[in-house]
């Protein structure tokens, strides 16, 4: 006769196996979908001449929104890089969100900015806008700087949307670097299909790359461990995750670092949410919800080629804060939009995307943590089948490696941004190495996000210190 403990353990075992199969099956499906989508994109792209968007008068203008908070180290160079983008007509709106450092002064001085009489129409409610500045130099005529009281990134973006004069707005991080043709590429889906309401570009890690005059001129891996682990993670998230979801119009995240939206659709959805740290994901979720509830045709797409380079955290402390914040943002978004979970009225979003993000992305760390904890507990109780546990961990490791290798493969068959064979070998090695320590550390940070959210009630961003992009010698 089986004891109750044995029955419970067996039930637990089958639960773990079932969850493991579901997770890995989901990842496999996403990887396969991504493969199909990337192949289509590569073929489709080979017939596109993006220069036409610069040549033609028909190209719609864009308002670029760059919120800045305490960015004195990088803001001047970032804005200069934005002003040199290769696109027809566009304006750059930098929103100084009540910075405590010299962000605004640096901008005023560098770009000869003066207070403007522009009428501020608050289509979205924001904290008080103190002034709107424009330059008296013709070279900077498309630069607008909004100075406002501190209200957070979402509030700053909403102020930017209010000031924007064009129908398409592109939200970026002020400290990110866009490639010359990034706007042309992220804008293309809107021009090809009028149902497209939002489009996100890929974010890549610039640590280790050579940056000259605000442009990444040489792509290479960092010589530090943490950024390389993040490169592999970004491949998985962007190439194998978002690429697949966009194929079925189930994309729930457009990175805050680089995303294009139809201005009227954002206003219709209510703008960015001030109350969450995951304002980028929350906005996309709300756009889906608004459009599905109104039964209006729409599409949210991801474009894997327009590149936005960002500086990844190199210290454990800052990375832990970032991951904690991302997980709180995910948790918050899923709580706000819990109505969509398993609700057939929300189609793919309700039946696939939200459940995936809930059970796999959000609760994955919890299940994994319980797995580790119960293994230790069973070991202490002397009831652990050690051989089988080792075997299971090896299987889990294999699957982890498989998806990392799969994501690197997607990069290799498509964009090949890392030209050296050494870099490819490094990425594959880190895809294996991340399972021994790095994965467990990020798991802990994500677990702490639950504690911070529910127990400590933390809803703020925290700080992220930038050291600025490294320059070519």
């Amino acid at each position: 006769m089986m004891t109750i403990i044995e029955i419970l353990l067996q039930a637990f075992f089958y639960g773990v196996i079932a969850y493991f199969i579901i997770v890995n099956l989901s990842y496999t499906i996403l990887l396969m979908l991504s493969y199909r989508e990337i192949l289509y994109y590569m073929r489709h792209n080979s017939f596109s001449d993006y220069r036409i968007t610069v040549q033609s008068e028909l190209t719609p203008p864009i308002s670029i929104l760059a919120p800045a908070y305490n960015e004195e180290a990088t803001v001047v160079e970032s804005v200069r890089s934005l002003l040199k983008l290769n696109y027809g007509k566009y304006e750059v709106i930098v929103v100084n969100d009540g910075s405590k450092d010299a962000t605004l002064d640096r901008l005023l001085q560098e770009y000869s900015l003066l207070p403007s009489n522009q009428v501020y129409e608050p289509a979205l409610t924001t904290k008080h806008v103190r002034d709107i500045y424009k330059s008296n130099k013709p070279a900077y005529r498309n630069l607008v700087v909004v100075d406002k009281e501190n209200g957070g990134k979402a509030d700053a973006l909403n102020a930017g949307i209010n000031v924007a004069q064009y129908a398409n707005v592109c939200a970026i991080d002020a400290d990110s670097l866009l490639e010359d043709d990034a706007l042309q590429k992220v804008m293309k889906p809107f021009l090809e299909d009028e149902r497209v309401v939002a489009s996100g570009g890929i974010v890549r890690i610039a640590n280790g790359c050579e940056v000259v005059n605000g442009r990444v001129t040489k792509v290479a891996l960092s010589n530090k461990f943490l950024p390389i682990f993040q490169v592999v993670e970004y491949f998985r998230a962007f190439l194998s995750g978002r690429m697949a979801w966009q194929g079925v119009n189930g994309l729930l995240i457009i990175s805050g670092a680089f995303g294009m939206f139809k201005r009227d659709v954002v206003i219709e959805a209510g703008g960015y949410n001030h109350e969450t740290v995951g304002e980028d994901m929350e906005l996309v979720a709300r756009i889906h919800r608004t459009k599905l509830e109104k039964k209006e045709p729409y599409r949210v797409v991801f474009v894997p080629d327009p590149v936005c380079w960002t500086e990844a955290p190199e210290s454990v402390r800052i990375l832990s804060r970032q991951r904690n914040r991302w997980h709180r943002g995910l948790l918050d978004t899923l709580l706000i939009h819990r109505k969509m979970l398993f609700n057939k009225n929300y189609g793919v979003i309700g039946l696939a995307a939200v459940p995936y993000f809930l059970f796999i992305e959000l609760l994955g760390p919890v299940f994994e943590f319980v797995g580790y904890f119960s293994t230790i507990a069973m070991l202490a109780l002397g009831i652990l089948n050690i051989n089988m546990t080792i075997l299971f961990f090896i299987v889990a490791l294999f699957y982890g490696v498989m998806f990392s290798v799969g994501a690197v493969l997607l990069e290799e068959i498509s964009f090949q941004r890392y030209p050296k064979a050494r870099d490819l070998a490094m990425l594959l090695s880190f895809g294996v190495l991340e399972n021994f320590g790095y994965r467990q550390i990020t798991l802990w940070w994500r677990m702490m996000a639950f504690y911070d959210y529910f127990v400590k009630g933390v809803r703020t961003w925290g700080t992220m210190q930038r050291k600025g992009f490294s320059r070519a010698a």
Partner: protein, 378 residues
């Protein structure tokens, strides 16, 4: 063996299988890709040299009484060694080599003109490359159809005009735009007629691509664009209006005026109004002023912008009305058009900047600043 161990082993086997397959796939892809690229590059280099020799080789002058086909006989003699070489190859090898020949010919075709170009076109026909490409227009893969449509234009294959015209109705927009571009290479400005008649539901991206083609011809394209205004497809009508405004040829004013006044679709009426503003012809002024009071907001906004572009003093009074009565967006548009009317408009705005209404005052300040007039001095 217990079921649990069996389950774990099954999962391990699956994972191992996938890891091995993906890893091997990665390595094999990398190796095959570089090998294939190298092989294609070698073949391309080899055939580029051969093609260069045969298209640049001097031919003996033909006697005056020779027939028209005499020159083709000469071309055929030049081509004979290459044809023989390809004939002797196995089917698979021949296909690979023909592809390299085609790539070499396409690259030369982009740069040559005159008799050399004729010679190259003849080679393409004689080697059967044109027929191959025409067949590819029927391929089930859209990317093969798009590539074939592109290549036929570069190869200047006039035989392909009819199949390319049919391709304008292809389901894939990439194929359609390649066909449009090739038809323009083959038939010049007259191809626009076929393109505008056959195209349907063109996206904004296709319109941008097509606009680049139209702008190569400018005034020559105007009659075809005016014809295009009669299309039953809204996207084509909008495109033709946009292009007529862009080219700036005033022969379109009458047609546009009629559309702005009577067309059943407001979107198209608004576009025609915008175009009239850009053309700036006096004949449209009365109609534009009349439309400043139109109940359709978008039509009215376009009319406000249009009179602003022309700088109409006669519109000051209705513009002031819109400035006072409209929503903020309309107020700003109206203020800009008032300022564009010259000193009288500036004087009107200056008087408004002292108005009691905060919004009106703000709008006047903003627009005076946009026109580089210091509001404190105005």
């Amino acid at each position: 063996m217990s079921f649990q161990i069996f389950l774990i082993l099954a999962l391990a086997a699956t994972a191992t299988f996938f890891v091995i397959v993906i890893s091997i796939g990665l390595v094999v892809h990398k190796a095959l890709h570089s090998k294939k690229t190298q092989r294609q590059q070698n073949l391309y280099t080899e055939y580029s040299q051969q093609v260069a020799e045969v298209i640049l080789q001097d031919l003996p002058v033909l006697p005056e009484d020779s027939t028209a086909s005499g020159v083709f006989d000469q071309y055929e003699i030049l081509l004979a060694p290459l044809k023989d070489k390809l004939e002797k190859m196995s089917k698979g090898k021949r296909s690979l080599n023909r592809k390299a020949v085609k790539l070499a010919l396409i690259d030369f075709a982009k740069d040559v003109a005159g008799e050399t170009s004729d010679r190259l076109v003849y080679f393409c026909y004689s080697l059967g490359l044109v027929d191959d490409e025409i067949k590819l227009l029927e391929s089930k893969n859209w990317w093969d159809r798009a590539q074939a449509a592109h290549d036929l234009g570069v190869l200047k294959a006039r035989r392909a005009v009819t199949p390319l015209a049919k391709t304008l109705e292809d389901e894939n927009p990439d194929v359609r735009i390649q066909a449009m571009q090739s038809l323009v290479i083959l038939g010049g400005v007259h191809s626009l007629q076929t393109i505008l008649v056959k195209s349907r539901n063109i996206s904004q991206w296709t319109a941008i691509e097509l606009s680049i083609i139209v702008m190569r011809f400018k005034e020559e394209a105007v009659p075809f664009l005016i014809d295009g205004l009669k299309s039953s497809d809204q996207s084509i009508v909008l495109f033709c209006i946009e292009m007529l405004a862009e080219i700036g040829f005033v022969s379109a004013v009458e047609s546009l005026r009629t559309m702005a006044r009577d067309y059943p679709n407001v979107v198209i009426r608004a576009k025609a109004v915008e175009a009239l503003g850009r053309l700036g012809d006096q004949r449209a002024e009365g109609l534009l002023v009349e439309l400043l009071a139109n109940p359709f907001p978008n039509l009215r906004y376009k009319a406000i912008e249009a009179v602003g572009r022309i700088g109409l003093r006669s519109a000051l009074s209705p513009l002031e009305e819109r400035l006072r009565a409209g929503p903020l967006h309309e107020k700003i548009l109206a203020a800009r058009s008032i300022a564009a009317a010259g000193p009288e408009g500036i004087s009107l705005l200056t008087s408004i900047k002292n108005a009691e209404n905060d919004v009106l005052r703000g709008v006047a300040h903003q627009v005076l600043e946009e026109f580089h007039i210091d509001p404190s001095l105005a």
